[in-house]
């Protein structure tokens, strides 16, 4: 049985934002509940009040808006997987959605919730980091856009204030020459938390050199991280085996992993290098 809490059921976004503002000291949003309910049961947090944001009409759908692919704050992982815009313009996000938890979870879990929960192993984080995504945080005072690279603060801590809600995740259209890949190492194929995960993105110049690069890694630090030094080692270079191997080494050096039941710190660092190298090849 779950601990007691108050549950507020707004019917529209403005009402939800009022409720979150009114209960900023002891409330939190719940959408798909796939993290919140196990965490309530396990005692990770004890909010006196939950504000149900699942099903709010304003948070639905994936659409184009001013050069951004806008993923509504209520969009589930299953909806990402089925969306033709994502398949065409952000296939790396689809790759990650395919291996996030299980189909049963994907039908409830939201992209916004995966980010808000701020697990270091969140599968949506690396692809959205390499896509330069922004998180739209909305309160009754208005909205602000936070680059995802500045969103995570620590394990399960983000810059989201208690009265704010993630109303969208915005992904700028990548250039035509952009290629990205996701990878995940886990103890089983499905319904597994990552030992490590990550994504790489390379935008090619006309001469075949790397014009811009992004490397994002999960489950190897208190938050999902970018490997900035590794990215710099690629930029302006031809993607030769030596350049790739060097960048992969720098990516492994950017990690600060821990030992846990899924893997040792040493293994995580070693496998990061291998997976980044393979993803770039």
């Amino acid at each position: 049985m779950l601990p007691e809490f108050e549950l507020l059921m707004p019917r529209a976004l403005p009402e939800a934002l009022e409720m979150l503002a009114g209960r900023a000291s002891d409330g939190m949003p719940i959408a798909g509940g796939t993290n919140v309910i196990p965490d309530l049961r396990g005692g990770r947090y004890r909010p006196a009040c939950l504000v149900n944001v699942a099903g709010l009409p304003e948070l639905r759908g994936i659409r184009w808006e001013d050069g951004f692919l806008v993923i509504g704050g209520g969009v589930t992982i299953a909806e990402v997987l089925e969306d033709p815009l994502v398949a065409q313009f952000a296939p790396v996000l689809r790759e990650a959605a395919r291996v996030l938890a299980s189909p049963l979870i994907r039908n409830r879990a939201t992209v916004a919730g995966n980010l808000a929960n701020a697990s270091p192993a969140a599968d949506m984080a690396p692809p959205l980091l390499v896509l330069d995504a922004e998180v739209e945080l909305t309160s009754r005072e208005g909205s602000r856009q936070v680059p995802l690279k500045d969103f995570f603060v620590h394990v399960r801590r983000t810059v989201r204030q208690p009265h704010e809600l993630i109303t969208a995740v915005r992904v700028p259209l990548p250039p035509e020459s952009s290629r990205a890949r996701f990878f995940k190492v886990a103890l089983r194929k499905a319904d597994a938390i990552a030992v490590i995960n990550g994504a790489v993105r390379v935008d090619l110049a006309e001469d075949g050199r790397c014009r811009a690069a992004r490397i994002a890694l999960g489950a190897v630090a208190p938050t999902p991280i970018r490997a900035y030094e590794a990215e710099k080692a690629l930029e302006g270079q031809p993607l030769t085996p030596d350049v790739i191997a060097g960048a992969a080494r720098l990516a492994a050096e950017a990690t600060r992993p821990i030992d846990d039941l899924r893997g040792s710190a040493a293994y995580r660092r070693a496998v990061t290098e291998v997976m980044v190298r393979r993803a770039l090849e």
């Binding site: 779950l2 007691e4 796939t34 699942a54 938890a101 189909p103």
Partner: protein
Amino acid sequence: MEPKLITLKINGRTHQVALKPNVTLLYALRDLGYTDVKNGCEKGDCGACAVLMDGRAVNSCLVLAWQAEGAEIVTAAGLGTADRPHPIQEALADSGGVQCGFCIPGIVVAAKALLDRNPHPTEEEIREAISGNLCRCTGYGLIVEGIRRITESAESVESAES
């Protein structure tokens, strides 16, 4: 907090029930007598509590009952019973896919969600669709075989529902 009277639509029936906000859909269903919905892990890892919610398979242990108000809930028993089994249930029994049986209602629900969207899935797609459902008898081989048999006669699924 005080209970609230909510309306749940389950297997085509409408129930008015007073529930506190911290009651999950899983508990609400079992307390209403829908005990074909099994309580396994209560954290979304095992799929034994899976139900269809507006056509999508979800873990009922991770849905608050209040969140399910207005949705069409279908449990395995809503698809078919021992007297009038759904083709999926029949195929699982015929294939020998049912051992202790605890995971089967959830598997039936996951298979139904799959076949509704994809009447002729590959073996890979079948395995993917039930990847959130644990069978501790580890009878996956025959479960997959049972679901595969239906896909060879998907017409029979459609006719059984009409």
